[in-house]
Symmetry: C2
Subunit: 489 residues, 2 copies
Amino acid sequence: MKLFEPLNVGGMLLPNRIMVPAMVTRLSGEDGFVNGDITDRYVRYAHGGAGLIVVEAMAVHKAKSGPLLRISDDQFIPGLAALARRIHDTSDSKIVPQIIHFMKVAKSGWRQTIDMLSIADIDRIVEEFGAAVARAREAQFDGAELHSAHAYTLASFLSRANPRKDMYGGDTLEGRLHLIERIFENIRKKVGEDFPVGVRFLADEFIKDGYTVSDAKLIGLRLAQLGAAYLSLSVGGKFEDAVHLPGQVPYPYTGYSGDRCMPGDWYPAMPHAHFSADIKSFIKAHGFDTPVATAGKISDPDDAERLVSTGAVDIIGIARGLLADPDWPHKVLQGKRERIVRCDYCNVCKHLDGTHTRVICALWPQGALQAPPDDRLAAAPYWDEVTGANLTVSVGDGKVALKWKKAAGAARYDVCRTDQLGNVQIVDAVKVTRWEDHNLLAGMPYRYQVRAYGSAGQGGVSSNAITVTLPLPEFAMRIQAPFADGHSR
Amino acid sequence: MKLFEPLNVGGMLLPNRIMVPAMVTRLSGEDGFVNGDITDRYVRYAHGGAGLIVVEAMAVHKAKSGPLLRISDDQFIPGLAALARRIHDTSDSKIVPQIIHFMKVAKSGWRQTIDMLSIADIDRIVEEFGAAVARAREAQFDGAELHSAHAYTLASFLSRANPRKDMYGGDTLEGRLHLIERIFENIRKKVGEDFPVGVRFLADEFIKDGYTVSDAKLIGLRLAQLGAAYLSLSVGGKFEDAVHLPGQVPYPYTGYSGDRCMPGDWYPAMPHAHFSADIKSFIKAHGFDTPVATAGKISDPDDAERLVSTGAVDIIGIARGLLADPDWPHKVLQGKRERIVRCDYCNVCKHLDGTHTRVICALWPQGALQAPPDDRLAAAPYWDEVTGANLTVSVGDGKVALKWKKAAGAARYDVCRTDQLGNVQIVDAVKVTRWEDHNLLAGMPYRYQVRAYGSAGQGGVSSNAITVTLPLPEFAMRIQAPFADGHSR
């Protein structure tokens, strides 16, 4: 598979094209130092075989925030260096920190916007990013990534809603690009030409009057011209449409743009990959081979392979899917796809981030702070207590209700549904022994099967399969009768 | 071109695959009767050669609203019949009314939601739709279209945000589909099987927690099963994210979902066509040939042809583009594409609708209530006063400023820009003789040319062309130097 071929990214050789995008863990203290929990989280990704690990956003400045890593002072370097060393000792994975500058927000709902920044403030941000990249290099990271996406400072400059009237905005695309250009210039002064610096930015802001892929292509081209090692695309996640709950600090993933940023179970697979492909194709047409990474609800190995083998993109970012199962890369490579713990896009992880709580996956065993041990190393046996016809189904009121027997040792169950076209979908993953399907069309056969996972996360055998068809309401049957041959008039 | 091949839509034979989607005109009085201005608007589309004309939404009920057509009583039939007759006398175009039910809204921002409807209210809506379709048939329309899109009653039932707890919602897709099923049943009782009834619905709600194309596929399949003559896809346009201005009735196109519904000039071409193609492909895989119509910023004839010739969709809806130039179909068919008055997606039309003002196109001659006369019939000569090197350009501050001489008889000018890849774009259409480009990338050549149109709307010759490259800021040039061969590292 092309997905597992190495890739040269600005001089850093990724062992494969699978990336852990930056994900907040809320595992650090407010002091901003790397701790054991954080180290365990990233080492786990290295164990699982991801080619590029982007460490969660760490602040380049000292502004107060909740639990958040910091790279704003030399005192953070030893901890960061220890983390990078652990990854390098564990695997061939490359590791880069995502570095971030953010504006102030208050519980009142007030937030600082970029038009409040003086030129001296902007000069300071330029310096802070340069110093942070220099610290990343000193800590022996393989590169760094500028966080220029979502609701944060750099993205607010790139935004079509940039309100500044001066050379850092002024209602022109060039003005919006000015800050990140200066930051790249300063980074090159500070660390030279051979330290790879990628950029994460938005393919579409998904807000009213926000920019679309039309601008993102031009932004991507400029970043390529500036020597960005890679372009990593995200979407949405803005403050502009955030829902402010009284007494709480605004959280930029609570509005529609937050839906898009981390698309939930009601979204189709890969809803944004086509934007990344458009941007890749555009910069390529202008002579740049800069690798492009995409992310957003990619979970199927065949989808991932298709995206890289067709050249649509170069790197596959899997965030929630690798949180659920860091062994996704190894399991795919070893032909053990059926053992992957599949993310069901329930977004508990998103909710935990939003409440500044330590981010875990709801699919892990109760109480676990990290993904269960790598069963490839632990050689855990397949868990096989679930056998026979234990699944029963009842239908009515536009729903299918599933029930099954709890089996000893079962920690959770994937509910698999196969539609009339043969598409298999994990429609939910639950820890209880019942589930209802509210989102199906009457008159169509659906085949259900439940798959149990053991408490160590290892995959179990599947239950019996039951095919059910919700009856069409009587009047719909009568209406449908003239077309019962399956063809419209 | 396949675009100009006839298409059988549930028994109505379209002369080609170009559709005028329903567009509010605000030309009617509050009495709801067809008047001369409205008739002129639709006859103009027929003159221009659109295959299917969907008349603006007309209410099936008596609820108060601004200027809006009505089909809620037999007294409206003669006026509607006269309109249908005029279209049929003018052309082979088919004409259907879009019929709508909407909920109450108040200037306070309050709006009635569907959970406030009693079962008796719902039964009444079912009857109102049935009676309205029967009136459409009596008025000799070729069919009818149910408005089940945007912020209106039927769409609110289909919505993933449907709040009802009973059989018309109940948190199931089947519940959400229940009302439209009953309406189809009643329509068949009232008008029989042979009167084509299409449905417009949303491919994606584009609101927080709204439905996506995943549900739209299932909705489309059910509508096909119910015998819908065609499926016409739109997106967004919801109340949920509308911006409420104090003292004004909420207008459902003021939020992000409104941006998506009528994508402005900062959107790429055809941002939603892929949804329609997904839905077409899904219902086809289930054995249904129901024609699918798409719409949303389609202006290029080659794009339109590609969509139908590849089978991605069957019908091309062009709303703002046909408002700007109803002769688009004839001009394409006759090989006179360069004479098309191209929509620049300035959305003045959208703004006029939002303020309940008569909807015109800013590209029409000043004061005109209708598109200029069909120059194919009027045989107006090409207007050729603009010649020679009249365009001048200056650059600076991240902008390119264009100026040109006003020529006698010129009513407006298209500003055309060609990028480095050879893509020609009409970046704006203006009535003044200057324009600034704020949205271009420094270091890239752009070729500008201005094309003048005469006061009768006829196309003129183009100005001289000027190619300019905005200089890269000095530091960006230095940064870029190592990659001056056009390739990244």
